[in-house]
């Protein structure tokens, strides 16, 4: 260890980091069986990075849970496994495919599986008796998320009832819940997309390669560039083209769009995020465009 210069006043990224670490330590202190939702995406990777810093020099005291839609990008799964090994994490996987195979869930007509994640997620929470579940949600993502508390109480059915959310005063968090209920915890609540990228740059956090520009065969649907995969490919009349793209979010491959981009480095991504005229969800998620209240409805059902 090296002694650093005394700090006089902390900058905004450090303040956001300190706040997230404080939240994680509160959870470690007050809950019995917390878990981090880890998809391999940038926000969940930040959770792992922050957890490592929060408990240093001890290892991360939480397992991670991946709700696997079966529609994965190979690069992301490879990255997930590497992170799990690097931090010595225990990985729990809830597979949507298992539910489809044995008939508990039915594939949707449109083939997207994001909406199918809720049941496997809630079952995994119940099975492992998790009482606190860390999510990478940020308030700047969407109007319904802007209403979210840092500690968000969920019923035994995992449901979010906005009118029942507790007042959240100062930084005193109330994590009390009844048996069967759990609390979703959002340490990144006050990060914006730009803060996330600035923090990733400052900390040198590694991300799956698909966050940076690469060439890929894509086809256009609903105004988004989708890619072929186990989830299917272009329909009749959807023409496949080769483009230089990157992903701003990572989710179910069937409904996560790539954006045209030549940003190959962190600095270039940062510049692009600064200039963007679309939110990351608006640019890349078909499922959030379904209706005016798509995100709220899925949150109410127990989705992240």
């Amino acid at each position: 260890m090296t002694a650093t210069e005394p700090v006089t006043s902390i900058d905004q990224l450090s303040a956001l980091e300190s706040e997230a670490i404080h939240v994680m330590r509160e959870v470690a202190g007050e809950f019995d069986r917390p878990v981090i939702l880890f998809s391999g995406g940038k926000d969940s990777m930040l959770l792992v990075h922050l957890a490592a810093k929060a408990f240093w020099p001890a290892p991360i005291p939480f397992p991670v849970l991946h709700v696997d839609t079966g529609h994965n990008f190979d690069e992301v799964i490879e990255f997930r496994d590497r992170v799990v090994a690097r931090y010595g994490l225990q990985l729990e996987v809830a597979r949507v495919q298992d539910y489809i195979d044995d008939g508990r869930l039915t594939e949707r007509a449109d083939g997207t599986r994001n909406p199918l994640q809720t049941t496997p997620l809630l079952d995994a929470i119940a099975e492992h008796r998790h009482d606190a579940v860390f999510g990478g949600g940020r308030r700047d993502e969407e109007r319904a998320r802007a209403k979210e508390r840092v500690f968000s109480l969920r019923t035994a059915f995992g449901q979010w009832e906005p009118s029942r959310q507790r007042p959240e005063l100062w930084n005193l968090y109330n994590g009390r819940h009844k048996p069967g209920e759990h609390v979703r915890v959002f340490p990144l609540s006050n990060f914006t997309e730009l803060d996330v990228w600035r923090y990733i740059a400052r900390e040198g956090v590694e991300l799956p390669s698909i966050y940076y520009a690469h060439t890929r065969e894509v086809f256009s649907r609903d105004g988004m560039w989708l890619t072929s995969g186990p989830w299917g490919g272009p329909r009749d009349g959807e023409e496949v083209v080769t483009k230089t793209v990157r992903y701003r979010t990572v989710g179910d491959g069937s409904c996560t769009g790539a954006v045209e981009s030549t940003a190959e480095t962190l600095d270039e991504v940062l510049a692009e995020v600064r200039e963007s005229r679309l939110t990351e969800r608006g640019a890349t998620r078909a499922d959030d465009r379904l209706s005016e209240a798509a995100m709220e409805d899925r949150k109410r059902e127990g989705y992240f």
Binding site: T4, V7, E17, E26, P59, P162, W170
Partner: protein, 424 residues
């Protein structure tokens, strides 16, 4: 680097808070294209987009046309970054207003120019005063509906400053701006309709108002969150106390008191995952290593020597946030710092009347949204500061032990100092 201002809106229902927030975001070009499209689609009856829909994000909010829960929005100008909490005006959701205000450095209180100051305005100003939100802006809104009448503005500003004066706000902590959230007058752009107004636009004011920074000279306070004991090969004997510096500064070598026991030890090291520090200030998450192993666990507080003696009986002011009223004899949980203890409510000694800011003695109970003073007894001694001295360790929650609900925001001492208003 540009600094940060945290602000909250407040004011009665329909006074235009969400529209104002939407206007601020829109006129500072902080609204992205897909967000604006969503607002245009949702605006009823066509016409100009309803900017309040940028923040009223819940279905029931859009259906009822009111704000129900706090929305947090972020925007930045070249001069400053802002965290904005848009709170509901409806009295039923005052708990969410208190939530938004508890972390605000500035509150924008809106008043409808046609109706002027109403009880809900007084209630919200009292909440801001109680929580010691350092600065207030009076936004006299909907000036377009009173023909931008100068006298209307002055009359409301005068009544408002009477209120803030009674609550102990200094003159320079309160600024009054005539504006129209809907039309944009004096929000970001100076209005041609108010030639008689020479002050700043709302944004100019928000960009230039001094921000009460952290007070590094405050006495050091550090509630212990978690004991870090890796017991790994590389750190077999490491033992550190993790927490967020709640107030003041700690330096390597400092003597600290362990509360509530009162034992003393010395700070041997300040650790972070990025390396050791010589000093840490309020707002920083760190791990402290101490010279002695005193069996410290979560719930203890490390403090600069000379902190107030821990107590089991004390007076406090509450903002009561639950439908179920508070009555003497109630048994509750109290969360202070990282410690949760049992509490019994002795007497409910005072209640603030938000109609005229008079103090009612022996009100018997506190109903929902009431602010008042109580005496409390707790099961274990707590290292309390007065809220006015150290807000972070002078505040607490009251929690329902069975249901788990948060019932009240608590402030140690008697910060409820209002001078009754002369009611006209």
């Amino acid at each position: 680097m540009a600094d940060l201002l945290k602000l909250a809106t407040a004011g009665s229902v329909d006074d235009g808070k969400s529209t104002l927030v939407g206007r601020l975001l829109y006129d500072t070009k902080s609204v992205l294209a897909d967000q604006m499209e969503a607002v245009e689609r949702a605006t009823v009856g066509g016409g100009d987009p309803d900017l309040s829909l940028l923040v009223d994000g819940l279905r029931s909010e859009r259906e009822q046309g009111i704000t129900i829960d706090v929305a947090y929005r972020y925007f930045a100008t070249p001069r400053r970054s802002f965290v904005l909490a848009d709170t509901p005006g409806h009295v039923q959701y005052t708990r969410n207003t208190v939530t938004g205000a508890s972390t605000a450095q500035l509150a924008v209180l809106l008043v409808d120019a046609r109706t002027g100051v109403v009880e809900q305005t007084r209630r919200h100003v009292a909440v801001m005063g109680l929580l010691r939100v350092p600065r207030l802006v009076l936004a006299v809104n909907k000036m377009d509906l009173v023909d931008f009448d100068e006298n209307t503005y002055w009359r409301i500003a005068k009544e408002f400053t009477g209120l803030t004066d009674a609550l102990g706000y200094a003159e320079d902590a309160v600024v009054a701006i005539p504006l129209s959230a809907k039309k944009g007058d004096n929000v970001v752009l100076a209005s041609p309709n108010t030639p008689w107004y020479e002050g700043p636009t709302l944004l100019e004011h928000l960009e230039s108002v001094p921000v009460e920074g952290a007070d590094h000279d405050a006495p050091f306070r550090f509630p212990v969150q978690y004991v870090v004991r890796p017991r790994t090969e590389s750190h077999p004997d490491y033992r550190g106390y993790a927490g967020l510096v709640a107030a003041g500064t700690v330096r390597v070598g400092d003597e600290v008191e362990v509360l509530p026991d009162g034992l003393r030890t010395r700070v041997e090291g300040i650790d972070t995952a990025d390396g050791e520090l010589e000093a840490a200030h309020d707002g920083q998450s760190v791990v402290l290593r101490l010279a002695d192993d005193l069996g410290i666990a979560r719930g203890a507080e490390l403090a600069a020597p000379g902190a107030p003696e821990p107590v089991t009986e004390f007076d406090a002011t509450l903002a009561w946030l639950h439908e179920k009223p508070l009555r003497p004899g109630a048994r509750l949980l109290l969360k202070h710092g990282t410690r949760t203890v049992q509490a019994i409510v002795g007497a409910v000694t005072h209640r603030l009347d938000t109609e005229d800011l008079s103090v009612v003695e022996d009100p018997g109970e506190l109903g929902i949204n009431a602010m008042g003073q109580v005496s409390l007894t707790v099961s274990e001694p707590l290292p309390l500061d007065r809220y006015d001295d150290v807000a972070a360790t002078g505040s607490f929650l009251l929690i329902d032990a069975q249901a788990g609900d948060t019932l009240a925001a608590g402030l140690v001492g008697r910060p409820l100092v209002a001078r009754p208003l002369e009611v006209h």
